[in-house]
């Protein structure tokens, strides 16, 4: 459950519209109908069952039935093999999740690095980061585009601070 919270906050609220966007029309009605029919069928199977014990409260069990002591004893004696297999399963799942969600270098393009300073700083002040990313110049310079900027560079400079590195 905690994992859900983390993943939902990671994936972000941009995808939250999908939470309210179920599939449309006929399939939705059909699915609801199917779910209701399933509930009715299971209820009939349970309530009209021939098993007499289902209708009773069950045997009176001792206090502490199903407590940690009994469960621990059962897990480590009768069910030791499933216990160990479950531990390996958890280990493999954790490793698999890490491998799946790992950042792969080289398969897709590098994620753009976002820092708080890029929002605080006015654009076009000629920092080294902007020079590396080719974003020098004022917004006007960038609107004209590189081709327009190159064409106009022969004439007058379009940006007074464009080459102020």
């Amino acid at each position: 459950m905690v994992l859900y919270v983390f993943v939902v906050s990671y994936v972000g609220m941009a995808e939250a519209s999908h939470f309210k966007a179920p599939i449309g029309g006929g399939q939705r009605v059909l699915a609801m109908l199917f779910a209701f029919a399933l509930f009715v069928e299971l209820s009939i199977a349970v309530l009209a069952s021939g098993l007499q014990a289902i209708g009773t409260d069950g045997p009176t069990v001792a206090f502490g039935f199903g407590g940690p002591e009994q469960i621990g004893r059962a897990l480590l004696t009768d069910f030791l093999l499933p216990f160990e297999v479950a531990s390996y399963l958890l280990l493999i799942a954790a490793v698999g999740a890490v491998v799946l969600a790992r950042r792969r270098g080289g398969i897709h393009e590098e994620e753009q690095r976002v820092s708080a300073m890029s929002f605080l700083r006015p654009p076009g002040v000629g920092t080294m980061a902007e020079a590396v990313e080719g974003r020098t110049g004022t917004p006007v310079h960038r609107e004209l585009g590189p081709s327009a900027g190159d064409g106009a560079a022969a004439g007058e400079p379009t940006s007074p601070r464009g080459s102020g590195l």
């Binding site: 859900y4 993943v7 699915a31 779910a35 509930f39 069990v61 199903g66 059962a74 958890l90």
Partner: protein, 99 residues
């Protein structure tokens, strides 16, 4: 409370989960509904365990929880990988593996 009411609650939760799996498109919600179905099975297991006065059903429920945790772990890993690749997080759009 007789055992049958636990089973009815279990059937109700399972039906809600099945309906959610069929109607929702977000894999996160689909995983949540799968979890709901597995927990409905757990309710039934523990009710039967109480009915027989035996802890074996509870052990089975714990194993089911472990398997559910693994499944959710892998599913959320897939969701994060999808998000990293800027793919749509929508099970209707992700149909490259169908036949």
């Amino acid at each position: 409370v007789s055992v049958s009411w636990y089973l009815v609650v279990s059937a109700l939760v399972f039906s809600i989960g099945a309906g959610g799996v069929l109607t929702r498109r977000n894999p996160l919600v689909v995983l949540l509904c799968l979890e709901l179905m597995l927990n409905a099975a757990n309710i039934a297991l523990i009710a039967f365990s109480r009915m027989w006065g035996n802890v074996d059903g509870q052990i089975f429920a714990i194993i089911v929880m472990v398997v559910a945790a693994c499944e959710v772990c892998i599913g959320l890993g897939l969701v994060v990988a999808l998000y990293r690749r800027r793919l749509p997080i929508d099970v209707d759009e992700l149909r490259e593996l169908n036949g």
